[in-house]
Amino acid sequence: MNTISSFLDMGGYAAFVWPSFGLSAVLLIGIFVISVRTLKANHATLDALNNEAERASPSEGPAQGET
């Protein structure tokens, strides 16, 4: 137990070490999540547009449907 608390204490520098690691984690995960969300949203929009186009004019559909 002692080792854990001394580890978390970081030799008295806990207030600087943990925020550094925490901020890095939060921002990197943040930009990752934003990027993946944008990707998923864009793919969904594209699929919806393609489906619409196919329904509107089935003959032209496959040409646009290629992704």
Binding site: F7, F16, I31
Partner: protein, 242 residues
């Protein structure tokens, strides 16, 4: 049809890179995990800076990536302007926010490291000052590339800015160093720490590799998203114009 054909090349790129995404993700997590383990548990504390030296493992790789991302942005800009490769513009645009995040992290962790070492949150140290200016260059790039109704036009203008900025980075670095030695002759503890012990080098290296892999991972995802957005625009435009 012309609009669709223009994305033929990006399509090939995406079919090639999409399978890489899970691998990149796995490798990123692996090397970051190993780097964090070694850095937090195995590496020794510094005899001068104590445990606060562990901030180095997130600060130094972020600073490296800040420069790396700007360099790859400038290379994409050159490729986009000279060979008019459509993917280069996409890559530059996808890199900028990631690079800006790394630069901000380098600044924030540098400040958090500086507080116990220097006694203040901010010192006009040559490295931190150059990082701050680099951050402004990233912000300018992103603002310019988003300032046009036509995203392709924005990408072109931003590419020129990235090249001009890239030529200026060494000049800015040189002048900031000059200015710094002028005003602070006696240097305090340097940010790169005292001579690095090999047991500190391994976690540092692993973290740097992890950050680079992370960048590539997010880069592919962002490029995919941007290419898809281009397809959406092309489809919508075609619908409007019949």
């Amino acid at each position: 049809m012309a609009m669709i054909e223009r994305f033929a090349n990006p399509n090939r790129f995406l079919t090639l890179t999409r399978p890489l995404v899970p691998w990149l993700g796995g490798l990123t997590l692996l090397s970051l995990g190993a780097g964090l383990y070694l850095g937090l548990f195995q590496a020794p504390a510094d005899y001068q800076q104590g445990e606060s030296v562990r901030i180095m493992y997130v600060h130094v790789p972020a600073a490296w990536m800040a420069m790396f991302c700007y360099t790859s942005m400038a290379i994409s800009a050159a490729v986009g302007l000279i060979w008019k490769h459509p993917l280069a513009d996409v890559a530059g645009k996808a890199t900028a926010p990631v690079g800006a995040v790394f630069t901000f992290l380098a600044l924030a962790t540098g400040s958090l490291w500086g507080k116990p070492m220097w006694g203040t949150w901010w010192v006009w140290d040559a490295r931190l000052t150059s990082m701050l200016i680099l951050f402004f260059l990233y912000i300018g790039y992103m603002a310019l590339s988003n300032a046009f109704d036509n995203p392709q036009r924005g990408a072109k203008a931003a590419a020129i800015l990235a090249l001009v900025g890239f030529i200026n980075v060494p000049i800015i670095k040189f002048s900031v160093d000059w200015w710094n030695t002028l005003h602070q002759p006696a240097s305090v503890i340097r940010m790169d720490g005292p001579s690095i012990h090999p047991s500190m080098l391994w976690p540092l290296l692993l973290m740097a590799i992890g950050y680079t892999l992370f960048y590539l991972w997010v880069l592919i995802i962002r490029m995919d998203a941007d290419v898809t957005a281009g397809k959406i625009r092309a489809l919508r435009q075609r619908r409007v114009h019949g």
